[in-house]
């Protein structure tokens, strides 16, 4: 549980510090308006969708850190842990995901410059690469199964399948959002909303990349 607790401690420390800065020296019982009122609203750039995404990512991080905690605990608990072999394909998949992330960042930049054509191309690239990543992950599953590393043969396998499928599901969820943004683009939607949608996708992809890096590292190390 150390991993989970560390994550929570960091999160809570940030949260508590923020609250503290907004509550220290405040005398709530004093009536009046203006200054204090202005100060404790969140800054303007923290829009509702941005904040919503952050809260969602905190929740998803909680899911993954808990599985990783369980992974590390289970590794110690039974004498039956046999690590999986590393597959070259995994490196290839990782590269795909990095490129997808880069492409979406490009799309985000292009969106800020209102370069609609470039946005379209980069969005397609980002979505396509991500879809390829999912296919690649499925291929790794097949490879493992062919070599006899079934889900139930070993807890290391079970964790591998669990982590990759959850990661994949989150990516598919991301692709649904991606598709919505893309449709909005095709219909020539309002640029501001488009920009916000692309930005959220780019951040979400970064997050999933980070999760994947951690999962992959865990797999290589153990």
């Amino acid at each position: 549980m150390t991993v989970t607790l560390t994550f929570l401690a960091l999160l809570m420390a940030g949260f508590v510090a923020w609250l503290f800065s907004h509550s220290v020296n405040v005398r709530p019982w004093v009536a009046g308006s203006s200054e204090t009122a202005r100060r404790t609203q969140v800054p303007e750039w923290v829009t509702a969708p941005r904040m919503g995404l952050m809260v969602l990512l905190a929740t998803v991080t909680s899911v993954f850190t808990l599985i990783i905690s369980a992974y590390l605990m289970r590794m110690e608990m039974g004498a039956d842990w046999h690590p999986l072999p590393d597959s070259a394909l995994l490196w290839f998949n990782s590269a795909l995901l990095v490129l997808a992330s880069v492409a979406l960042h490009g799309a985000w930049r292009a969106a800020r410059q209102d370069a609609v054509e470039r946005v379209r191309h980069l969005l397609i690239a980002g979505g396509g690469l991500s879809a390829l990543f999912v296919v690649g992950q499925l291929l790794v599953w097949r490879q493992l199964a062919v070599e006899g590393y079934y889900l139930a043969t070993n807890p290391a396998n079970a964790f591998y399948y669990l982590l990759t499928s959850l990661h994949g599901l989150h990516l598919l969820g991301g692709l649904v959002a991606w598709a919505k943004v893309f449709r909005r683009l095709q219909r020539g939607g309002e640029p501001a909303r488009l920009r916000s949608g692309i930005e959220l996708c780019a951040v979400y992809w970064d997050f999933l990349l980070l999760v994947w890096v951690v999962v992959f590292a865990l797999l290589l190390k153990t």
Binding site: L5, H22, S33, A37, A48, T59, V63, A70, G78
Partner: protein
């Protein structure tokens, strides 16, 4: 009330809160079924939770009948007894309390109390309810599959829960785990809304330190739930894989039905860690909203400002944070390292400090208050009693040496019902009596309410108090019958019969409450916009019940905290949050006579 005339614009900073676009449906279905209005969603949550809660209530009566009058009801056999206990516990904790406090009161009160038009993401909010409903239906389906619902206990401990021989292992347990996963997804959608709305959509002047404690409680509970429910999700998914796909996350090598299973190495302890990493915060997920609501009930009905507002806020936050580091006090008997147990006993006892601070502050709020013994106030005071009571027995259980012999006895059942079942339920009742006028425009019947309170309050003592004594004798929980057991004296059976009779009376009284809800909806006295003379924004809306968008043309502007009751020298004994300092009327020449509070 709401038509106070003043020019707000000159006192406040320019609009920092942008207007929201709201979907205003015209049809009945758009308004009340696929509604995106948080107030409608709140009522949908509330009604669904009440309906499934009634199922759990009936189950508890079945359990009690078996315990009080063994073998009198032929419907109950050892297997179905365990199934009833399991469904009862799970429904009450997750599908009733969590859903009604966060989904129900959270949705109704957060936008109104923060001065927002609606939740930040109304569409997601609607999805949240429908996902919750789906999870309830999946859970209920468990009653009807072959083999019935799960009998594993609400704690779902493997290997028991998924081993052959446990009731419901063929289908019920799968449905329960899937239902939990669906519930968590639905909750996350709602939870995002609650957090973002509180942080983002507060109206002008509504600083963090001017939020009513109700909002603080619900907000903190939501933050905790968003971080703790994932543990249950992970545990449920892994347990499902163990059951359906033959993995061994939790399943050790063991002898089942005379055969050695194929698995090896799995760790039931791992499940316990995950489960209680969710399970303990869950206690506070239902407690913190109750803490918040009860603070407001006490302040309004005692006509006093809440004692130590900032301390109350920080106590909520500290309790929330600490509750993530006490989970292993549920595992003292799991054979863990004694030093570990000592550590967790210590953290557990430390939580008692902020909790005790809250209790003192509540009592000090009442001290010399101008108490109005309305029904909400009665329930709030009832909460103080049951909560303190359950908290004290919790101090016993928090100590390893006392917990080991008491573990899994009726002492524990008595303790947790007092502290996490009855106490929050008291607040929920109080809150319904308090906000029903805002939701419907009519008052609930007072006489029926008082009968409801006294029977429920005294009845719960008759039910749970004796359980502590039964537990001290060592009577174990989750047993269908005790057989010939020498350490259990005969009087236990007498007590059990008495408890059952009390339980039946209490349960019947809840029907009276339901009748009151329905009858008052059509026949209740008209309440007007602010029957309790409260200061918070939900009572200042131009319409009662508030329409979609809550506040008519312009959002209110907030000038003060929500606890301006009995302000010395002021003419009225309460000043709503949206009244600017200049508009407050003072008694002639009676500035600061110090009279207000007494």
């Amino acid at each position: 009330m709401a038509e106070r005339e003043y020019d707000a614009s000159s006192h406040a900073p320019p609009a920092e809160v942008g207007e929201m676009e709201l979907v205003h449906p015209r049809t009945f279905i758009g308004k009340y079924i696929w509604s995106q209005d948080a107030k409608v969603i709140a009522i949908q949550y509330g009604l669904t939770a009440t309906a499934i809660g009634l199922v759990a209530l009936v189950l508890s009566i079945l359990i009690r009948l078996q315990l009080g009058f063994p073998n009198s009801v032929s419907l109950i056999d050892p297997a179905s007894y365990l199934q009833h206990v399991t469904m009862h516990g799970m429904i009450m904790v997750v599908y009733l309390l969590t859903a009604i406090l966060l989904g129900g009161f959270g949705n109704y009160l957060i936008p109104l109390m923060c001065g927002a038009r609606d939740m930040a993401f109304p569409y997601l909010n609607m999805l949240s309810f429908w996902t919750y409903l789906l999870s309830v239906l999946i859970l209920v389906a468990g009653f009807f599959v072959p083999g019935g619902s799960s009998g594993a206990g609400w704690t779902l401990y493997p290997p028991q829960s998924i081993s052959p021989g446990t009731p419901g292992v063929d289908g019920g347990i799968v449905l329960m785990l899937v239902s939990l996963a669906v519930f968590i997804i639905g909750f996350t959608m709602g939870g995002l809304n609650y957090v973002v709305t509180v942080l983002q959509a507060r109206t002008r002047g509504m600083t963090l330190m001017r939020l009513p404690l109700t909002v603080w409680g619900i907000f903190m509970a939501t933050v905790m739930a968003l971080l703790a429910f994932p543990a249950l999700l992970v545990a449920a998914l892994m347990l499902l894989m163990d059951l359906l796909l033959g993995t061994s996350f939790f399943m050790p090598e063991m002898l089942a039905m005379g055969e050695i299973t194929e698995r090896e190495g799995g760790s039931p302890l791992l499940f316990q860690h995950l489960f209680w990493f969710f399970g303990h915060p869950e206690v506070y997920i239902v407690a913190l909203p109750a803490f918040g609501i009860v603070s407001d009930l006490l302040a309004v009905h005692a006509r006093k400002n809440i004692f130590g507002y900032r301390m109350m806020v920080w106590a909520l936050i500290i309790i929330g944070v600490l509750s993530f580091v006490v989970w292993a006090h549920h595992m003292f008997v799991s054979g863990m390292n004694p030093y570990f147990g000592f550590l967790f006993a210590t953290t557990t006892l430390i939580i008692a400090v902020p909790t005790a601070i809250k209790v003192y502050n509540w009592v000090l709020t009442l001290w010399r208050g101008n108490i109005r013994f309305t029904v909400p106030m009665l329930f709030a005071i009832g909460f103080l009693f049951t909560f303190v009571n359950g908290g004290l027995s919790g101090l016993f259980l928090g100590n390893v040496t006392a917990d080991v012999p008491l573990s899994d006895t009726y002492f524990v059942v008595g303790h947790f019902h007092m502290v996490m079942a009855v106490a929050p339920i008291m607040v929920i009742f109080g809150a319904i009596y308090h906000w029903y006028p805002k939701m419907t425009g009519r008052m609930l019947n007072d006489t029926l309410g008082k009968i409801h309170f006294w029977v429920t309050f005294l009845g719960t003592y008759l039910i749970y108090y004796p359980m502590h004594f039964i537990g001290l004798e060592g009577v174990p929980r989750r047993y269908y019958a005790y057989g010939e057991t020498t350490f259990i004296s005969d009087s236990v059976q007498t007590l059990n019969a008495g408890i059952t009779i009390a339980a039946i009376i209490v349960a019947a009284t809840q029907l009276l409450f339901l009748f009151n809800l329905a009858w008052s909806y059509f026949r209740g006295r008209e309440s007007g916009p602010n029957p309790w003379q409260a200061t918070t924004l939900e009572w200042q809306t131009p319409h009662t019940p508030p329409r979609h968008g809550n506040f008519g043309d312009a959002l209110p502007v907030v000038y003060r905290w929500p606890y301006d009751y009995g302000v010395p020298g002021a003419k009225d004994d309460f000043i709503p949050q949206n009244v600017p300092p200049e508009a407050v009327e003072y008694l002639d020449g009676a500035h600061a006579t110090g009279k207000g509070a007494t």
